[in-house]
């Protein structure tokens, strides 16, 4: 776990020192990201059999100091995120990614990754806020890099909404400390479950939930996402799509599952309906869009709905579905953004109606077919299993409305993916697409992530059993609480 904490700032500092030397920067950045991936993989291997690693930073015991906790969920998310990080840094070497040429891009990306790793691993609520801020502040600059009208407009909306959500987060944090006298998540969980989630805690939880739902881009707080994502550069938005909303969802999960179970409160049905609305509105929005990145941006929202749905349903199976979905979605979504970045660069347009003939790039085409089919839930790819897990969990909970909505949303997802396929890839181009020199890096990244998608599909059985174990651990709550509180007497 130390590696996760130490490597990214070091890489970022070295990259800052290399300001203005793009080749060296790119090389160091890739090396740093691979080192981070190694650290993440090591952590995952360490906890994968079922342990919970707890590390009291600076040797300060749990309720006093900050603990970092790596259970299987956190370790898996960190590993997948860093894999995406490697892919994005790789893809950024392709010349179509203009803002990635900016000397600030690489350091910012590493600090973003640092924030993400920290957010996944922290066991302290306020520390989570700090990681959120690290992540957000890097993303603020990343999204605005390069300037331009649309980008800056989008960035202002993105920044403003996220700052307001940070305020909500702070308020929730403060109230919770005032009520419970601790910030440690496990300690909070212990105190709150002993008192049966009293109203003041619910109020603070509502505040925090609003903040996290905004970061996850849930209905009706998602407006920042379609306003800004499509303006960012391909590698940037691929990274964002994979990580930012997922950290929000992870926070929702930790809040509503580990810290304060919602069952019995008004917040649970609220979360369920929010999830359904998120799924539906996101996918309907996507149906109206014609530009590649806009379509995909709206799809992030609808996919977020799926994950929130599982969290809202609760219980081991549903949480396992959420875990499975998170892992699948991180890989597929970022890959799709990398692909459409390349597609737009080859075809010279963002609007699908002005694109065409991209099937002539066989590797890109293969990557697209795999990722799009996976997103649309076509078996035997990862998306199918993720969706199946979600609807089965909903069915087991007797939430047939949720099943119906999930399937209907699946249909519209198919509609959007077919739209992109037919327009950008299958139909003859209005103007022949021009092969882009140096696209090999980005294509490699695409293929790496696509392979991940296929492997998840092929290994769905073991992965699901593993997710189920994680789900059981999350739903039981006590393993996490005990591990943290016992590790630090």
């Amino acid at each position: 776990m130390t590696g996760l904490l130490v490597i990214p700032p070091l890489t970022a500092l070295v990259l800052l020192a290399l300001w203005g030397r793009p080749r060296l920067q790119a090389a160091v950045s890739l090396a740093g990201m691979i080192a981070l991936l190694g650290a993440a993989a090591h952590l995952l291997l360490e906890v994968a059999p079922g342990g919970i690693l707890v590390w009291a930073v600076g040797g300060w015991p749990a309720p006093l100091g900050i603990v970092l906790v790596a259970d299987r969920l956190a370790a898996a998310l960190v590993a997948v995120s860093t894999l995406v990080g490697v892919a994005c840094v790789l893809a950024a070497r392709s010349p179509h990614d203009d803002p990635a040429r900016h000397p600030a891009w690489h350091p910012l990306v590493h600090l973003l990754m640092w924030g993400v790793c920290g957010a996944f691993c922290t066991g302290d609520l306020f520390n989570l806020f700090v990681w959120f801020e690290v992540m957000l502040m890097s993303s603020f600059t990343l999204i605005a890099l390069g300037g331009g009208r649309e980008r800056l407009e989008g960035a202002v909306k993105y920044v403003a909404m996220n700052l307001v959500s940070s305020v909500l987060f702070l308020c929730g944090c403060g109230i919770l400390y005032g009520v419970c006298g601790t910030l440690n998540m496990a300690d909070l969980a212990r105190i709150i479950s002993a008192a049966d989630t009293p109203p003041a805690v619910q109020a603070a939880g509502g505040c925090l939930l609003a903040a996290f739902l905004l970061k996850s881009a849930a209905f009706p707080l998602f407006a920042w996402l379609p306003a800004s994502y499509h303006t960012a550069a391909p590698a940037t938005v691929a990274l964002f799509s994979a990580l930012l909303t997922k950290v929000g969802i992870y926070a929702v999960l930790r809040l509503t599952v580990t810290i304060m179970p919602l069952s019995g409160t008004l917040l649970q049905p609220t979360l369920l309906w929010v999830a359904l609305a998120t799924m539906a509105v996101g996918v309907l929005g996507a149906a109206t869009q014609m530009e590649l990145k806009r379509i995909l941006s709206f799809h992030i929202i609808s996919q977020v709905g799926y994950m929130l749905l599982s969290i809202a349903i609760g219980g081991a199976t549903a949480l396992a579905a959420a875990v499975f979905y998170l892992i699948h979605h991180i890989l597929v979504k970022s890959n799709l953004f990398l692909i459409v970045g390349l597609a737009a660069a080859h075809g010279g347009a963002e609007d699908v109606r002005r694109l065409g003939g991209l099937r002539r790039f066989p590797l890109l085409y293969a990557g697209f077919l795999i990722s799009a089919a996976s997103l649309a839930g076509i078996p035997p790819l990862s998306g199918f299993f993720a969706k199946l897990a979600t609807v089965r969990a909903a069915a087991e909970a007797g939430q047939w409305v949720a099943v119906a909505v999930a399937l209907a949303v699946g249909f519209l997802t198919l509609y959007s993916m077919v739209k992109i396929h037919r327009e950008a890839f299958a139909k003859e181009a209005p103007a022949a697409p021009v092969p882009l020199a140096g696209a090999g890096w980005a294509t490699t990244a695409v293929l790496v992530l696509a392979t991940g998608t296929v492997l998840i599909g092929l290994g769905a059985g073991p992965l699901w059993r593993w997710s189920l174990a994680v789900g059981n651990e999350l739903a039981a709550r006590t393993p996490y609480i005990d591990a943290v509180l016992k590790a630090t007497p």
Partner: protein, 891 residues
Amino acid sequence: MGFAIAVVLLPLLAALFAVPSARLSERLAIILAACALAGSAACALALAPAALSVPVEVLLPWAAPLGPDLALRADALGVILATLVGGVGACVVVYIGGYQRGEPGLGRLLATLLSFAAAMQLLALADDLWLVFVAWELTSVCSYLLVLHTRTREALKAGTTALLVTGLGGLLLLAGLLLVQQATGVTRLSELGAARDVLLASPLCTAALVCVVIGCATKSALFPFHFWLPGAMAAPTPVSAYLHAATMVKAGIFLLARVHPGFGGTALWEGLVGGLGALTILAACCRLPLADDLKQLLAWSTVLALGTLAVLLSLDGAEAALAVVVLLIAHAAYKGTLFLTVGSIDHGTGTRSLARLGYLRRAMPWTALAGLLGASSMMGLPPFAGFVAKEQIKLAGGGWLASGSLLLSAVALVAVAWWVGIRPFWRRRADPDLHPHESGPAIIVPTLVLAVLGLGLGLGGAWLMSPLATRAAADLAGQAVDGGLPTLPTAWAKAGVAALILALGLTVAWQRERLAVACGYLPRDLCQRAWEAGLHGLVALGRACVHVTQHGDLRGYLAVTMLVGAGLAAPGLAGLDWTLAAEPVPLWMWPLCALLTVGAAVAAFARTRLAAVAGLGAVGYGMAMIFLALGAPDLALTQVLVETLVVVLLVLAFRHLPELRAAARPERRRWLHAAVAVIVGIAATGLVLAAQQQQLAPNLGNRLIAAAWERGLGANAVNVILVDIRALDTFGEITVLLLAAIGVAALVVPGAEPRIAIARSPILAAASRLILPLATLLALFWWWRGHHQPGGGFAAGLCLGAAIVLIAAARGGGAARRTLRASPLAWAGGGLALAWLAGMIGLVAGGGFLFPHWLGPLGSPMLFDLGVFVLVVGIVVMSVERLLEAEEGEA
């Protein structure tokens, strides 16, 4: 077991090799593909003996308990379908070799076709519920790619429609399977019959039945989803022959047959399946006379046949079951033949128009023979397979609706057979512009093979088809089939009905033009239009959603955010006890309250920029005083410095913006905004009171102060928390500052225009020289004593930063940079590096990253705090200098 796997695996392997082998040689690719499919069919036949007694089962683990295991079961029906898929596939592939010789993308076409065949074989043998779905979706996707192969406008549109319709059906099927699984706990199709009673007793049964049936209806082009099939004729003809006649469209019927043991015989099943089948027949009959394109005719006749199959499936009893199986086989043979015939006509004449074609038997004798054989089978003439099917259908019985629709379909089939298989060859008239020529052997041979197969199946029906078909029918009906298939002698006895059908059919065929006029009055394409309207409706709904949620005005977004925050907190707040105790308020509090209130009001309602900024500043200073009064001197110090810098930055950043003009633009929604503000404000008040009302556990205060002294070696607990106990928070926080510095550096780029000298105050310049050493001293002092007294790295950095800001203001940004001797970004980065190194001391010396180590009064937390100090100087100077210089540059 090996055979069952080979059935699926052979086409899949061949698919992998199709593209590379086509690069080498087209012929090789064709031979490879045909052999793979023929081999697949042979393997399927090899499973037949076992299928008659104990079906071969295969179970390979995959994704249970979530999804499918590779559970295959080669029962009679599965073997029949698999044989058809392999056999017809081999013929079609050979045909493609002749039909599309030399076309680009042949390898891709073959690869997709073979993948499709593999998916189809998987569907035929799949026993796991989820595996069925996997195969089902894969056939849809492969079919989509095959239809798109020609890339014409029509192909793109038709392929999309086909995929969306079948995709919707797939999701319904998934819902249906989920319901079945929930209702019974069964995950194997073969166990469905045994679980029938549980299923029918479950409240989920109706929904499950409806979902499964509708799902199957989309795939098999049953009403109201029949419209996609004629559209999909945009695919290359051999592909249509394979997918849209012989195999894929049968998948729905096949699956209905598979779930028949579970659902069959219920009133809902009979009504739904039979009703959809009858409506399909009717819809097809209304369209048939209007079609001029031979392929369209065949497509509509396929719809007709599928409707017939559905009607038969709805009927009870072994005879009906046997009729389903036999018609499934016969239809694949004769419809495949006729499609290939039409392809040959198209190839030889360049048209498929019924009106233009005629008298082809001279130029295309072999094609004519194939057409004749196919048509005869389709008409149900003895001794063809179609005849057996038709005879069996007559035995099926059923109510007047079923009988009537079956009769109608039989008559229509005769007519279509005439139009497609006889008329183009034997008609006297023809378009003189046509110059027909016979197709090559690669086209003729597979066509004839299929045609002869139809004849052979009929001739030897009793012993060739009977065992497998009767076994399949018995599985399907859940009861033994007695008597077997009708043979020639028994059937001749009932020739009366057959003759009647034949006569009626030929009359219909003869009266084509009149029927066309009559059918022309009927409304057409209703279902297709409804489907398109549905999609349009969804998009319109999406537009409405976007209009409401994504309107582009940030203020709306923020209002919603604030309201959601208040709203989610509201239920908890409502649960609290709101009787407040009156508390004494110290006197000094009142002026502070007044300061905050006035400051906030000024910020909110000021008419000038400067006043608004001053309002914010007043609030900040007020806060600092509250902190000071309430035992938080560190906070007060930091707040004062921060607020000063923020005010400076605000003035710098906004000095060139237009003046506030709220009054110039009357805001329509100001009352709404005011209401939102009040609601959110009340919620915030409630939150604070909630925290004070309910306390579940004592806070950490005293433990922290004690720990800070004992382990942290500091009297100032706040500082010890910042640099030691929660140093990770601080590490993150200074990273945020570094990030902000990078952001400022990236965003505020000084303009390229030449600077204009700004008149500067010499007094200020002189004073700034004096201030720097003083500020440095003060800063170092604060840093040093921070561990025990108010102060610390933040305050120190802000203090030195402020001094350098003063230099910048007095002597320009360049002077500030010279004072720092490095770029502010380097300072910021260096600060983070120092903090990182302080953390690494712990890692190297033991205890882990950020573990404190002390050497007398010096300790790693002090170094950490020094990093904070340096970094804060960097960010302060960076932001001020950039905003100052950029403006100067712009001026």
